[in-house]
């Protein structure tokens, strides 16, 4: 039986990808950011999953306004890194897990989540930067990755509550897969940032840290937070944090199991315009 062993949460700032790709990780500006992931890289090596279910958002890369799926599940065999305007990042192609992805689709759609299945798409920094942060610069990513893209670009985006319930349904789906697989679920994006208008550059350190606290200890209550609170308190792009609730909803305690172990926690300001937050939670 497949099972979800851990969840990982991290920001996915594009400038972090640039810093990695251009070998700037040791520069004074970047060093404190990457230091926060030293432990995580080692941890991932020692806890290598078979599959990562990676929740992220596309940033007007694979999806234009032609088609805007609320939830898009990648069921293809592979996904190439996207050209976001500066050429594709020099990172490995993502190898998918079509069998598990199709299985999850089957289960989750029957649980009333109206997914869009995607068999052809490129993946942008939203997906590749978290992999780089956690894996460094390998020849190939250490395991298979199922991309799961959430619309947080055009309103209305799915509610925190909906995301949390989806996580619950994903857990159920994974656990009904016959093959013995170690699956991690990652939630990415955020934390506080605003890329537009007179309020650009907004950071809310206190709110972010309370979000981390509550994500750990009272995720169900946290999931009820309305969108406008994210936007008001964490900036217009802070809404990306709803994606973390998908990963959190898939943890064992939500289905009546024991609370997760907080393996790692990190917070740093800034990376470019953004507050970097990072958590690793393990199911005991």
């Amino acid at each position: 039986m497949a099972r979800i062993t851990a969840s990982v949460y991290t920001s996915h700032v594009p400038a972090i990808g640039v810093a990695i790709d251009q070998g700037k990780t040791a520069e004074p500006y970047w060093q404190p950011v990457f230091q926060g992931y030293d432990f995580s890289k080692q941890w991932l090596k020692e806890n290598r999953p078979d599959v990562i279910f990676l929740v992220y958002n596309d940033h007007a890369t694979a999806f234009s306004l032609d088609m805007i799926p609320t939830f898009a599940l990648g069921t293809a065999a592979q996904f190439a890194p996207a050209d976001e305007g500066w050429g594709p990042r020099p990172v490995p192609t993502v190898i998918g897990h079509p069998e598990l992805a199709s299985h999850i689709a089957h289960s989750v759609i029957q649980d009333d989540f109206d997914l869009t299945l995607v068999n052809r798409m490129t993946v942008d920094h939203g997906l590749t930067v978290p992999l780089s942060l956690m894996c460094g610069q390998p020849e190939a990513w250490p395991c298979r990755v199922i991309p799961f893209a959430v619309n947080v670009v055009q309103y209305p985006v799915p509610s925190g509550r909906r995301c949390f319930e989806l996580g619950r349904a994903i857990r159920k789906a994974v656990e009904s897969f016959d093959e013995d697989l170690n699956v991690q679920i990652w939630g990415t994006g955020g934390m506080s940032h605003q890329l537009q208008g007179a309020r650009a550059g907004l950071i809310n350190r206190e709110w972010d840290n309370e979000f981390l606290d509550r994500l750990i200890s009272e995720p169900e209550a946290l999931s009820k937070l309305p969108h406008v609170d994210y936007v008001r308190e964490a900036g217009s792009e802070g809404i990306e944090l709803v994606m973390w609730l998908i990963a959190r909803g898939a943890m064992a305690d939500i289905a009546g199991g024991p609370p997760p172990k907080v393996t790692h926690r990190f917070y740093h300001v800034p990376a470019s315009n953004t507050a970097v937050g990072h958590l690793i939670l393990e199911n005991p």
Binding site: Y155, P156, Q194, A198, A200, V228, S236, S272, N273
Partner: protein, 153 residues
């Protein structure tokens, strides 16, 4: 329309909802077209001619040519789409975001390194934070009550 839009009382912030998306459809699709080298070249060679191929309003075309991202946002642009213009110009997200505040690049970068813009006074329209209209535009160039836009962004 009778739908609640509770996000309209946040200062200096435009939410890209279905209504903005309709308004900015061609503006944003134009931006997407800049994801190929060939199109970036054509755009740079003659911006006006390139823009005329799209069903954009005059105001949208002007805002693009003036690189007035705040105006682009008001006219339905979304920042992730508009970023393709920035990429064409060789600008980073930090440079683009900064350009919308009136601050110089150095001022904005400095603000970020010091922990970013404070939330205090910037939650609701009408408070007294630095993102409120009464304090716009920001940055050294505007400190003398000068309401002019900066020469170049």
């Amino acid at each position: 329309m009778a739908l609640e839009k509770p996000y309209q009382d946040i200062p200096g912030t435009i939410i890209f909802d279905a209504e903005q998306s309709r308004r900015g459809y061609w503006l944003n699709q134009f931006c997407m077209s800049l994801m190929t080298e060939e199109n970036r070249r054509r755009f740079k060679a003659d911006e006006r001619a390139y823009l005329d191929d799209w069903a954009m309003t005059e105001a949208q075309k002007d805002a693009v040519m003036q690189r007035d991202l705040n105006e682009c946002m008001r006219l339905g642009g979304n920042i992730y789409f508009l970023a393709k213009i920035g990429a064409t110009d060789g600008l980073s997200f930090q440079q683009m975001a900064g350009s919308m505040t009136g601050m110089s690049e150095a001022e904005y970068r400095d603000m970020m390194v010091k922990g970013g813009r404070s939330i205090e006074g910037n939650r609701f329209v009408g408070e007294d934070g630095d993102a409120q209209a009464s304090h716009q535009p920001q940055g050294q160039t505007h400190q003398q009550g000068d309401q002019q836009r900066p020469e170049s962004k």
